[in-house]
């Protein structure tokens, strides 16, 4: 028992400076800083939307329809005379909320399910076959089916995308957990009488964390792109709630005359996804050398 205690103490001492180093290296990592700055800016814009633009995103002024971008309407106005800039700001709230919720909830679920599959070997087969079944669908199609069944609400989109992205996370956690389980120090902890729960919390979860974090950063980006696509085809977030996907859908019919309605939300999605992909790449470089370039 003492041995294990000393062992983990030593490990903690060794780990501390490394963690420090990681943070410093992250701050010096160019793509991390670019990605982090953009996503921070977008998040601030989303949170402070009512302060940045005092206009009501769904206030219609038919008199002002299809005004091109100007100093009064930075991104122009749409077919109902609504301010596109304000709608893109409020769209950021929905899109980032959906992306972040999917990322967090699917991360938690994958961690729990993955650890269960790795720890309780008798359940492993059943769990992994269920994951195989879910994973045999492309995420967007699975989400489409679930969102359609649950009905057009924000929560349905979150649930649908969460379910769609759980299997990939489960595979990552399970694989990491299975590797860690075989490590000498975990076996030592087991022999010295540590409970399974303690082993999971103290040893297995921390060791799955970096692979999972890198993966979830990409899931954030994918979930946002998928939400936009679902909302674009009319199965996701429904008007009048503004989401980047449904603003593009509304602007699409007037794309040649009023290009600004669909252009700016598209740039917003691309920027958000780009910054998250940069973040994911940087985190992958730093935390998880095995997972280069990510996917």
């Amino acid at each position: 028992m003492t041995d294990v205690g000393l062992g983990s103490l030593a490990a903690a001492e060794i780990a501390a400076p490394r963690r420090h180093g990681t943070l410093r290296r992250l701050l010096r990592h160019r793509s991390f800083m670019i990605g982090f700055s953009i996503i921070l800016l977008l998040t601030l814009a989303a949170v402070l939307a009512p302060l940045i633009s005092p206009i009501d995103p769904s206030a219609m002024k038919v008199r002002l329809r299809f005004r091109p971008p100007s100093s009064a309407f930075w991104f122009g106005t749409d077919m109902f005379g609504r301010d596109v800039f304000t709608r893109v700001l409020y769209g950021a709230r929905i899109s980032l909320f959906v992306g972040f919720s999917v990322c967090v909830v699917s991360g938690l679920c994958s961690a729990i399910i993955g650890v269960i599959a790795a720890q309780f070997r008798r359940l492993d087969g059943a769990i992994m076959r269920l994951m195989d079944a879910l994973m045999s669908f492309p995420a967007i199609l699975l989400a489409l089916g679930i969102a359609a069944a649950l009905g057009p609400r924000v929560s349905s989109v979150v649930i649908a995308l969460t379910v769609a992205y759980i299997p990939a996370g489960v595979r990552i956690v399970r694989a990491a957990a299975l590797t860690v389980r075989e490590m000498d120090y975990v076996q030592a902890a087991q022999v010295s009488g540590a409970s399974s729960l303690r082993i999971v919390i103290r040893h297995i979860l921390p060791n799955c964390f970096s692979s999972l974090l890198v993966h979830l950063t990409f899931i954030f980006a994918y979930a946002m792109l998928a939400e936009a696509a679902l909302s674009f085809i009319g199965v996701g977030i429904q008007p009048p709630i503004a989401s980047w996907g449904n603003i593009i859908a509304e602007g699409r019919d007037y794309a040649t005359e009023a290009w600004w309605v669909m252009l700016f939300p598209g740039i917003a999605i691309s920027l958000a996804a780009l910054s998250l992909n940069l973040l994911g790449d940087a985190l992958g470089d730093m935390l998880d050398p095995r997972q280069k370039g990510g996917a």
């Binding site: 195989d132 045999s136 794309a255």
Partner: protein, 346 residues
């Protein structure tokens, strides 16, 4: 003497080929192969069963009475009852599940409420469109993605690498449906090179078919090219740092042979895996792209079915696609085993 033997790690009883691959023992390999293929096939059976049950449960996710939702709010009670009977919703849960599985076993995937057609025939009718789109897109993606990824890996840490990887990063970040609208404005409206929507079957001439499908296929490829280039680069970087590449260079092989034969061949395994993912993703992505270009494919049908609340059609189509994806994954798994004798199987 190859570098891999200098540490004595390759014992005298196992021969190694010059490209770093162990010479396979054919008889042993055949037996393991058959076992592995059989195991994969067996694993696919529960997956197919689970997919069938999940598709069945899709209808029970509907909040409220499915019969009422499908028939519509304004439907008369008699019409609702008719829908209920037609879908077998008046029976018990397990009875319904049993009927559903029994029908599936006979190849009956149900029938559409709006199309007056069985789901299978509706899907088969639209298959050529989706297959053209996904197929053409994949045949653009694989050579371009592999080439870009290899070039980036070979010129790593130079401006070429940065340029290629930036392009790839944009590819995986820009939403396809948005770039599709911009593409239509540029290539159809402004330049008039290709029609902005609609599908011409290949039976009406290869030229018209090609011009009706090339823009959607290219746009569908953008994400995939980015994805594949990133994957190829990281796989190639792994391969290029191996001892046998250094050996190949040391013994004076030309760069072309070193990269082409030893490098790419080892990266092939990754490419096979990627192809399965890409094919599924191409079919998934075509659901969205078909909407933008009004292509009458499976994806457009599913979306129309959802909006028209034709749930049996959604359910049946998802199921057929699910089976297709299981088959794709199975094929990839088996090819993977054939390509890489080193793969270990738990």
């Amino acid at each position: 003497m190859p570098a891999c033997c200098s540490f004595g790690t390759c014992g005298s009883n196992s021969a190694w080929r010059q490209d770093g691959w162990p010479v396979p023992d054919t008889r042993l390999q055949e037996v393991t192969l058959i076992r592995i293929v059989a195991k994969k096939l067996l694993q696919a059976v529960p997956v197919i069963l689970i997919i069938s049950i999940l598709a069945f449960l899709l209808l029970s996710l509907l909040p409220g009475d499915p019969a009422l939702i499908i028939a519509g709010e304004q439907a008369s009670p008699a019409a609702v009852e008719q829908v209920r009977r037609q879908l077998g919703l008046d029976r018990s849960f397990f009875e319904q599940l049993a009927v559903w599985l029994f029908n599936l076993a006979q190849g009956n995937f149900g029938s559409s409420l709006i199309l007056n057609q069985s789901v299978l025939s509706a899907v088969l009718e639209r298959l050529p469109v989706t297959l053209s789109l996904a197929g053409l897109s994949i045949s653009i993606t694989i050579p371009v993605g592999v080439l870009l990824g290899s070039v980036a890996a070979y010129f790593r840490r130079t401006w070429i690498d940065s340029l290629v990887m930036t392009v790839a990063l944009f590819g995986v970040s820009i939403p396809a449906f948005w770039i599709a609208i911009l593409g239509v404005i540029l290539f159809s409206v402004q330049l008039g090179w290709v029609p902005s929507s609609g599908f011409v079957p290949i039976s009406q001439g290869v030229g018209p078919w090609f011009s009706s499908i090339i823009l959607p296929a290219l746009i569908l490829s953008l994400f995939q090219i980015g994805f594949l280039a990133r994957m190829t680069r990281s796989a190639m970087l792994d391969v290029l740092s191996q001892d046998y590449i250094r050996t190949a260079r040391a013994k004076g092989l030309s760069e072309w042979r070193t990269i082409g034969k030893h490098g790419l061949r080892n990266a092939l395994i990754m490419i096979i895996t990627a192809t399965g993912i890409l094919l599924s993703a191409a079919i998934g992505g075509s659901v969205i792209i078909e909407q933008v270009f009004a292509l009458p494919g499976i994806g457009r049908m599913v979306v129309q079915a959802i909006l028209a609340r034709d749930y049996p059609l959604v359910q049946g189509t998802m199921l057929i696609l699910g089976f297709t994806f299981v088959m794709i994954n199975l094929t990839v798994d088996i090819l993977y085993t054939l390509a890489d004798p080193r793969v270990s199987h738990d």
